[in-house]
C-alpha cells in the first residue's frame, strides 16, 4: 500500500461512524411542505422570483442570484407557493424563505433531462451549468462552486483535490456516495478538471474508509492523471488548507490568500457528484445526502433528502429519538451548529443531523488554563489557542489580533483537547465579531 500522508497538528476524536456507515443511501420521504431559505450559501442572499399562489415544478428557479458570489435556489418539489416570508434557519437568524406545498406529483421542470453530448461541452458552458444549478460546496462551508471554478486571471491552477476525507466524526454521507456512485463522482471531477484546464487530480481519503479507497481507486485506475491518496486518520484533515498540506505539502498563506494562490482547487466528493448531475442532466441542486445519526437516534440512516425538508421529518424517518435528547446539531460534532428548534429546513450545507443525548451534551465546567500546551500542539494553524482564549475573555482585542486570530478556522481541535474544558472556539468567535465591529467603527470615523 502507498504511504499514508497527513498534516501537522490535529486531534483524534473517536469517529463513531459505525452507527450509519453500513446503511445504504435511501431516498427520504418527500414532505408535504418544504421551506427554501434564500440564503443557503456564503455570499449574497437570493431574490425570490415567485409569489404566493404560483405553481412551480421541481427544479424550477425560485431564488435568483444577482451577485457574483452567490448561488440561485430552485424548487425541490412541485406544488404551490404558500408563503414568501421570514422563516427559521439552521444558521443564525430567520431569513427570507419560500414555502412550497407539495402537489404530490413530484413533477420536474422540462429542462431537466439528460444531455447525451455533455462530454463535448466547452469549459465555459460547463461552468455556466454549474452556476445556474446553484451548486455550492456540500462539505458544509457552502461556498458557491462556480466562484471557486473561476479563478482570477493570472492564477495558475495545477491540481484539483477531491475531498473524500469527511473528517467530522459520525458523518458518513460522503463515504456512502463514494461507495455507491464512484463513477459519477469521478466524472464530476473530470468536468471540474476540464473547466480549470488541469490534468492532475488527487482524491484524498482517510484510512478509516478502506472500502471507499478501494471503490474510488477502481474507477480512478482507468483515468489518466487521477490518483487516490490514502491519508492517516486525523481531524481536521478535511479542512482545505490541511488537506492541501497533507497531499501536496503546500501551505496556503494567511488570509486573504486562498488555496488557488498555491495552485489548488479543492472540491468535496458530494459537490463533484452534484456537478456531474448538473452538467449531464441539467439538474439543479435540490437534493443532497444527509446522515441522520447519533446515540439518541433509534435508526441512524443516510438519506437522500430534498432541500427544505425539516429536521423533525427526517428524525421521524429514522425511528425517532430515544431517551432524553440533549442536543441537535447540524453538521458534525466538531464544527456543527446546535439547533434550538427542529422545524428548521435542510439546506445545501447540511451534511448531517446529529442528535446527542443529555449525558453526551452536558458541558464540563471550564477552568483556568493550566498551560499544558495540548491546544498548541493540536492547532493545525500554528496558533496559540490558549492565549487567544484568554485575550478574548479579557477583551484584549489588539493582543488577539497580533496573534492572528483571523487565521483561526474554528475547527475546534483546541477546545476538544483542552483538559481544563476551556471554550476557545466560542471565545475566538466572539473576539472576531468584536474586532470586526471595532474595525468598522474605526473606518466609519476616518
Amino acid at each position: 500500500m502507498i504511504k499514508l500522508k497527513t498534516f501537522p497538528g490535529g486531534v483524534h476524536p473517536p469517529d463513531r461512524k459505525s452507527l450509519s456507515v453500513h446503511k445504504q443511501i435511501e431516498p427520504a420521504v418527500i414532505p408535504n411542505v418544504i421551506v427554501c431559505p434564500m440564503s443557503q450559501h456564503i455570499g449574497a442572499p437570493c431574490q425570490p422570483r415567485v409569489k404566493e399562489g404560483d405553481k412551480v415544478k421541481a427544479g424550477q428557479l425560485i431564488g435568483q442570484a444577482d451577485s457574483f458570489v452567490s448561488a440561485p435556489v430552485h424548487a425541490p418539489i412541485s406544488g404551490t407557493i404558500k408563503a414568501v416570508c421570514l422563516a427559521p434557519h439552521p444558521i443564525g437568524k430567520p431569513v427570507m424563505a419560500v414555502t412550497i406545498e407539495s402537489d404530490g406529483l413530484d413533477a420536474w421542470d422540462d429542462a431537466i433531462q439528460e444531455d447525451l453530448y455533455y462530454s463535448r461541452l466547452e469549459p465555459k458552458d460547463i461552468l455556466n451549468r454549474v452556476r445556474n444549478a446553484g451548486i455550492v460546496g456540500l462539505g458544509g462551508a457552502a461556498f458557491p462552486t462556480a466562484v471557486k471554478l473561476s479563478p482570477p486571471k493570472g492564477k495558475r491552477i495545477d491540481t484539483v483535490i477531491l475531498n473524500g476525507v469527511e473528517c467530522e466524526p459520525y458523518l458518513t454521507a460522503d463515504h456512502r456516495i463514494m461507495l455507491e456512485e464512484p463513477e459519477k463522482i469521478i466524472a464530476g471531477l473530470r468536468l471540474i478538471m476540464k473547466v480549470l484546464n488541469v490534468d492532475r487530480a488527487f482524491i484524498g481519503i482517510e484510512s478509516n474508509k478502506p472500502d471507499a479507497i478501494e471503490s474510488m481507486s477502481k474507477v480512478a485506475k482507468g483515468e489518466s492523471g487521477i490518483y487516490v491518496q490514502g491519508l492517516k486518520l486525523k481531524y481536521p484533515q478535511g479542512a482545505e488548507k490541511q488537506l492541501i498540506k497533507a497531499i501536496l505539502g503546500r501551505e496556503v498563506p494567511p488570509p486573504p490568500c486562498l488555496p488557488l494562490d498555491v495552485g489548488v482547487v479543492v472540491q468535496n466528493a458530494g459537490t463533484c457528484l452534484a456537478v456531474y448531475e448538473a452538467v449531464r442532466d441539467n439538474k439543479p441542486l435540490v437534493e443532497r445526502v444527509v446522515t441522520v445519526t447519533g446515540s439518541a437516534i433509534n435508526d441512524p440512516k443516510n438519506l437522500r433528502v430534498r432541500l427544505g425538508t425539516s429536521f423533525s421529518d427526517l428524525i421521524a424517518q429514522c425511528g425517532n429519538t430515544n431517551g432524553s435528547v440533549g442536543k441537535v446539531i447540524m453538521g458534525g460534532p466538531m464544527m456543527g451548529i446546535a439547533q434550538h428548534r427542529l422545524d428548521v429546513p435542510v439546506i445545501k450545507g447540511t451534511s448531517g443531523i446529529l442528535v446527542l443525548n443529555r449525558k453526551e451534551a452536558a458541558k464540563q465546567e471550564s477552568r483556568a488554563c493550566i498551560r499544558c500546551g495540548q491546544c498548541i500542539r493540536a492547532c493545525p494553524m500554528n496558533l496559540l489557542p490558549n492565549l487567544l482564549g484568554i485575550y478574548c475573555e479579557k477583551g484584549r482585542w489588539e493582543d488577539a489580533e497580533k496573534l492572528h486570530i483571523f487565521d483561526c478556522m474554528e475547527c475546534g481541535s483546541c477546545s476538544y483537547i483542552c483538559p481544563a474544558s476551556r471554550q476557545m472556539v466560542h471565545l475566538i468567535k466572539l473576539g472576531k465579531q468584536e474586532i470586526l465591529s471595532i474595525q468598522k467603527k474605526r473606518e466609519a470615523k476616518s
Partner: protein, 324 residues
C-alpha cells in the same frame, strides 16, 4: 453565531465542538501522582515510617489548605482535583526522611498559599509551588533540611553530592553508580532512586501527559556541562553519570521542571528551558557553594518562562510561501 451556553426548553445550545476528550485536570493530576508511586514507595521502603509520615502529612495539609482557602475566598472549589495533592506529594518527596512534622506542615501550607493561591490558584502561579516551599524551608531550617539518613539502617549520613562538595571526589570512592541508580544512598525521600522515577516518567510519556523535551534537554545539558569538567580534570570532578544519578536531578527534571503551569508552552521553549536549568544546575554543583542546585535552577527558569514563551511563538501558518 454567538449562542451562549443555555438551555431553551429541551435542547442545549452551545458553540462547537460538541464533544471533548475524556482527559481532564483531575485525570492529569492523579496520573502524575500515580507516576510518582514507585518513587514514593521506594522512599518509604528505604527510609521507613518517618518517610511515610512526611508524605501523608504533606499531602493532607496541602489538600486541606487548598480547600480552606478556596472556601474563604469564594473561589471555584477544586481541592479534590489532585493538583493540591500533587503539590503536597512533590514537596514531601523533596524533603529529608526525618523532617519534623511541623516543618512539613509549614511547608505544605506555604506551598499552597504563597506558592499558588496568592496568584489566583492553579494555572496562575509563576513558580512551582512545591519548590517555593522547599527553598523557604531550606533557608529557614537549614539544619533540619540537611539531616540525612542512610537507607535501610537509618544511621545519619551525608548525600553523595554533599560528600563531593565538602570532602572532594576522593571520598566518593565507596559509592557505586548502581546504588545511585536504584536508590541506595542518602537523600530526599523521593529523589534517591532514579530507576523508580524513570519508570514513573515513562508512564507519563506513554499517557501523553508530558513530553520528553524538558527532561532530555535538562539532563543532557547537565551531562555535557559536567562532562566537560570531568574530561579536563577527572581527578577533581565527578563524572557525568554520577551527576545524572545523584541528588534530585531526575526527580526535578522529570517531575518538577515539567510542571505545565510554570514551564514554557512550546516545544522550542521547553528545550531552551531545559538547557537553562541544566546550565544553572551545573554551575551551582560545580562552582557554587551549595552541593545541589536543582530547585534553584528550576525556580530561576520558572521566572524566565514567560520571556521564553514570548520568543518561541510558533511560526505563522503559510508564512513561508512555497509554491511548486
Amino acid at each position: 453565531m454567538n449562542e451562549e451556553q443555555e438551555s431553551t426548553g429541551e435542547l442545549i445550545l452551545s458553540c462547537g465542538p460538541h464533544i471533548s476528550t475524556i482527559t481532564n485536570i483531575p485525570k492529569v493530576m492523579y496520573g502524575v501522582i500515580l507516576a510518582l508511586i514507585p518513587a514514593t514507595f521506594t522512599g518509604i521502603y528505604l527510609f521507613g515510617w518517618s518517610a511515610l509520615k512526611v508524605v501523608v502529612i504533606s499531602m493532607l495539609v496541602a489538600v486541606l489548605t487548598e480547600g480552606v482557602i478556596q472556601w474563604i475566598l469564594g473561589r471555584q472549589m477544586s481541592m479534590w482535583d489532585g493538583s493540591a495533592a500533587l503539590t503536597g506529594l512533590l514537596l514531601a518527596l523533596n524533603l529529608p526522611p526525618r523532617s519534623p512534622w511541623w516543618m512539613v506542615l509549614v511547608g505544605a501550607v506555604f506551598a499552597i498559599i504563597i506558592g499558588k493561591q496568592i496568584y489566583g490558584g492553579l494555572g496562575h502561579n509563576p513558580f512551582n509551588p512545591a519548590l517555593v516551599a522547599r527553598v523557604v524551608l531550606v533557608v529557614s531550617w537549614p539544619v533540619q533540611m540537611t539531616r540525612w539518613i542512610a537507607p535501610l539502617d537509618g544511621v545519619s549520613t551525608a548525600t553523595p553530592l554533599g560528600i563531593l562538595k565538602s570532602d572532594g571526589i576522593a571520598k566518593l570512592g565507596g559509592i557505586r553508580l548502581f546504588d545511585l541508580f536504584i536508590g541506595k544512598t542518602g537523600g530526599c525521600i523521593g529523589e534517591v532512586s532514579a530507576l523508580a522515577l524513570l519508570i514513573g516518567f515513562l508512564f507519563l510519556l506513554w499517557k501523553g501527559y508530558v513530553t520528553w523535551h524538558i527532561p532530555v534537554a535538562y539532563m543532557g545539558t547537565v551531562c555535557v556541562f559536567t562532562g566537560v569538567f570531568w574530561l579536563v580534570n577527572p581527578q577533581r570532578y565527578a563524572n557525568p553519570a554520577f551527576h545524572l544519578l545523584a541528588g534530585g536531578l531526575v526527580l526535578g527534571a522529570c517531575f518538577m521542571a515539567t510542571d505545565y503551569v510554570t514551564s514554557p508552552i512550546t516545544v522550542k521553549g521547553k528545550i531552551i528551558f531545559g538547557i537553562g536549568c541544566g546550565i544553572i544546575t551545573g554551575v551551582i554543583r560545580i562552582l557554587g557553594s551549595y552541593p545541589e542546585g536543582v530547585s534553584f535552577s528550576i525556580l530561576l527558569m520558572n521566572a524566565a518562562a514567560p520571556l521564553i514563551d514570548q520568543y518561541t511563538r510558533p511560526k505563522r501558518y503559510g508564512r513561508l510561501k512555497k509554491h511548486a
